[in-house]
Amino acid sequence: MRTGKQVIIFFLLCLSRYGYGQTILSKQVRLPQQRGTVGELLAALSSIDGVSLSYSSGVISMAKRVELSGKETVVEDYLKSVLKNQPVKYMEKDGKVFIVFDERSPYKKKITISGYIVDKKSGERLIGASIYAVNKNQGTTSNSYGFFSLTLDRDSTRLVISHAGYFMQAEDMLLAEDIVLELKLEPNIIVNEIVVVNSEGRKNSQNRTLPGKINMPATMIKSLPALLGEADVLKSLQLLPGIQAGNEGTAGLNVRGGSADQNLILLDGVPVYNATHAFGLFSIFNADAVHNVEVMKSGFPASYGGRLSSVIDVQFKEGDKNRFHGEGGVGLIFSKLTLEGPLKKGKSSFLISARRTYIDLILRPILKASEGANFDLRSVMSDINLKTNFTIGKKDHLYFSFYTGVDKYSTQSEETSFYFPGLADSTLKTVTNYGFFWGNNTAMGRWNHVFSKKMFSNLTCNYTRFLFDVFTKSESKNTSRNFTSTLRQKYFSSIRDISIKYDIDYLPVPTHFIKFGSNVTLHHYRPGVSEYYQKDTIERTNIKIDNNSLFTGEYDLYAEDDIRLSDRLKINAGLRFSGFSVANKFFTSVQPRLNWLYRLNNKWSLKGSAVKMNQYIHLLTNGNLGLPTDLWLPVTKRVPPQVSYQVAGAVSYSYDKSMEASAEVYYKKLKNVIEYAEGTGFTNSFTNWEDLLQLGKGKAYGMEWMIQKKKGKLTGLLSYTLSWSKRQFDKINAGKPFPYKFDRRHEIKTAIVWQPRHNLEISADWFFASGNAISLPKGQYYNPVTATYIDIYEGRNDFRMPAYHRMDIAIKWMKQRKKFLRTWTLSVFNAYNQQNTFFLYKSNDYLNNRVKFRKVTLFPVLPSVTYQFKF
């Protein structure tokens, strides 16, 4: 473009050789006004007879105010004053004065384009959208709140804005002065992509700086077949290489040989401690309310910390700022409804989403019939999400988000007995309540503020609480003898966090994206609190034991820079400093992070990372089932923080943005991981949990391959993982290393979505995994003193369960009704009824005088039907 202008100017200059003797620049003139904007003064000058100017707002800051000295006499004097400090030069040719951009001008200025990228329909801000200046070969991506900033030379350029699931948009821009704008992208609702896209939108995998970072949009989660038809965020992640399901059917995640507690699961930026319902069968995230899920397995930037193995950031929708709409569904387990719309059109919005099971409504009459009319089941499993956001002026934005989810299972029974047998008035009526519940509550307030075109800040206040409670209450009454007996027992554990976090994004030039910030979290741990109360004629017992209750503080500082060293090489370097105060002890950790990307060409790229992570929390778990009874406990002098060191390297290939393939290797070392000492498996209020533990180390390494087809009627992915995960403790397995329970040598996963017609979608997934590691006896002997047979175990986890494999299928029929879109989904979990092993137990075969093993299977083939609507 610039070259074209220069040719024209050169041509005009040549013509000027044949001009008049008196020049325009030396022409005596007088302007009526002494001040005004550059645009006004140039227009006034042009209006003078015999003065012809040619200029462009693309190179001159027209709005700039100028005051003349009053000493100007000729046109050139005026131009010098009006165009002072502007990166231009002027030349007279062919009766005209051309004002053109001066490449050598000391006043040549950088222009910053900043603003937000939003969904055109809903007004929702888009995370990770790409903005690329074509002729400058420079670009950036929007941050977690849709904000972007791109600083370029003053010039004209073509900006290309793109994001997965949206039509690409191009805008020609004249870069004369800083620009603040809102770029609106039109959603592409026709193409159905089952794509694991990265956070950098249109850019393919070659341009990702962070290896091991992948995005899973809600559309993909909802396209996949699901257990009992309930689309599940965490289970969908189990399709990705390196992310394993724990036990069959559960939403537990084991990432690259790590344990379930080593995953930082964020709900709109707020950590949740137990992200499952129904003892791990379903995750707490309602897929209808989820906007996007980001997963990091390695290459953690310095802005994340606190867990060793992964970050799973679940972002809920913001709510539509422009129109009211909703969606919902009725399935076998849950019914749900999500509503969203503007509070003030274009300025603020809300989203409310609720989900509830009705399994209790089905079970209640059945149990009443079997247990008697005096038996009542009161159970519920529900989630409620509420989110609002408000735009306040051009620079500020407020978000508020709340979540509450609960699992409650309780029974009430009544029975009548005779306290003093034989006496007519000794009837004792006893009402017993028994039950347990657990759940998370989270609240978040966030203030986005744009300090300048290059600096964006985010202040977040979080509250999160996880509570598990078991209770029994029994009350017996004899009214005629005025006798009452009360028994109350309660056991609960909870963890409560309040945190404040301040993050700043600074984009000084397109080659740097600097982030820095701090975080302070106060934790209140109450593991295993027991209360016991009994009273009849007198108070017999009144005990409350809260021995392990503890307040702790966690403090973090971080800084990172995404640096573009050349067109081919990008690095992300950062440092995180964290501290943890607990019971007069202060732990500190410095965690360097480095990620790099080298683009070989348009198709191939190499990536790598080296990170250190720290974790100040331990999970005491028995069986790794992810049960709510598991206890979250802080580090102590005796049980220090967990530490991991991970290096990873990857090569990726992209073809025409429709096919992507990658291979990634990793090696991870773990320090201070815990395990119950042999023969222990539960802690209560009376025991010191530190006495029950063994402290050890671990390592995990492996290779992951993945290939994706991202466009067309048939989309899908195929992945293979070859991995090892080991643990070593001084007093377990005679100090020798042993395979971690979820050490699975081979994993193959595939998912496809086929959309032959716009109203029909067929999807399937298939999993194969080597069996879990288990310990089995290698012999037995008779103890004549105790007259018992004793099994001999020589090594821990030295056997393998049978391999696991399963196929799920779903078929969706969509139809646009007059006012809403309805979808019927038929899904079949475990389509070929594979009897996968949930656990093994020994059984006696008297006929053959043998002990044999029997496997228990959790899920046979499970068909389900779901009805969904969207309006």
Partner: protein, 307 residues
Amino acid sequence: MKNWKAIVQLLLPVFFAGTFSSCEQDTTLKLPAHTSRLVVHGYVETGSVFKIAVGKTFAADVLLPPVDTYVSTAIVALYENGLLKETLSYDAAQKRYVSISTHAIAGKTYRITVAAPGYETAEATTAAPFPVNTLAVSYIKNARTDQSGILLNDIIFRFYDPMAESNYYLAEINRAAPYSSSFCVYTYDPAVENFQPALNPFESGNCIVNNEILFSDKSFNGISKEITISSSQYGMTEITDPFSGALYRPFLKRYSISEELYRYIKTVIGINGINEDPFSQPVSTYTNVKKGYGLFTVFSTVTDTLR
């Protein structure tokens, strides 16, 4: 669309049949071939002669073991403080190797070696602990209730733990009866090992078997220690046999045990605690027998009548 309907109509009954099919079935796991080793068991009270049972291991998948699990062809040598004291002779009636002249003495270290044709020679070493006398025993009736409202008595005993060494104890509370029986006792004392996953010390799930009250001096080394055990009232008063006239009283028996026995009992109780949990890691039973299995230990006892 008609085709889809037909497919659905065909497949649905199949799916439902599968749904309600069995969720449990036999599976074949390949266990490695088993090499048999010697199993040595000897639990000797100070002042008593040594009686050692020698057996053998067998494959894990055998339901009923071979008819005779004992090994009668072994040579069992007994060493006291490093010196050979005696080669034990086999008593076929007891199926034990028995010392003729050697009695266990507190403070001494004993080692046995067991050699038998076809097996690697096994050996084990243990130290005989001194008894620790009781300073006081008290007995409080109706001190508290269990979760069902049944009144419990408290048995409180005090002793002085010897300093400068790790001591291990096992206590048992016995009812007034001509025979020993097994019942539940309770305690909230954290020094006492408790393997049950119950939350209230006085609920039935928190039962400690009356002869498995196990504790070490880890939390009270070298000081006076008082332990309270709660037990139901049944059998806790003295009785006289109406036929023989014999008087029976409840009593507390306290064992000073070796670390080997302490660890052994812990693992055995631990195994019982997790037997029903298929997700727990199995517990390897402790053994102090090298190149074999079992336990060789010496202990001392102190008995106090409960009045």
